[in-house]
Subunit: 108 residues, 2 copies
DNA sequence: ACAATAGTTAAGTTTTAACTTGACTATTTC
DNA sequence: GAAATAGTCAAGTTAAAACTTAACTATTGT
């Protein structure tokens, strides 16, 4: 019910702690506690950040016993790349159009 | 003094109004008033959004007379793409590593 | 069985971001 | 040169994130 969308991905990555978490997960999967270790905040807060990263499709977690292991996943990155490409292509035809518009009388 | 960074780009695009502004600027440059028209918010608020988009390197503006024209620019998109590639490449070697870690005894 | 570990839930507080109002400046148009 | 247009600035308000504490569950180790 928490479908990953571009909105969720950007919101997730807008926070520096969450960006840092993503960076620390690029090398290896981590437990919630291991992920929380470097930050001066409660485990609860880390869990909340994690939920946001999961909802954005950037992280997947799986609980085995009492340990929840967290790893990156494609979904969020694919959404990000898709958004980027969709907005770059139609624009890069008329590169830096500002100059043109100011000279021409394309009424704004 | 407001250097565009990945942090600023993500923060900028975390807001739906600003994402919408970016999308409306893909086709053609717009004045601040024209950009503001569809939104039910003050011109001041739009100006504040615009400042955030500019600081993120997503939009450039130029004032000619009393009209400020806004257009997209590469910088922010390049930063976004750079961030994305830097995190994808080192990770995609070991695709969906979560499963492995749970089976092996790579202590976490 | 008891204690420690790992994480979760609910509910409240604090901090940050979004937005508003009112007063103001600079440029056009009439 | 007055009035409308286009945007800006400062300061305050509202709404949304981020974070906290305290109490709780489930698993593992002794």
């Amino acid at each position: 019910m928490t479908e990953p969308t571009a909105a969720r991905v950007f919101q997730a990555l807008a926070d520096s702690t969450r960006r840092d978490m993503v960076e620390r997960l690029t090398d290896h999967a981590l437990s919630v506690s291991a992920l929380a270790a470097p930050y001066e905040m409660s485990l609860t807060a880390v869990g909340q950040h994690l939920a946001i990263l999961e909802a954005a499709g950037l992280v997947v977690t799986q609980k085995s016993g009492r340990v929840r292991t967290c790893a990156l996943t494609r979904t969020g990155f694919d959404i990000l790349e898709g958004w980027l490409k969709a907005r770059r292509s139609p624009w890069e035809k008329h590169l830096d159009r500002l100059g043109d518009v100011l000279d021409d009388d394309h009424t704004i």
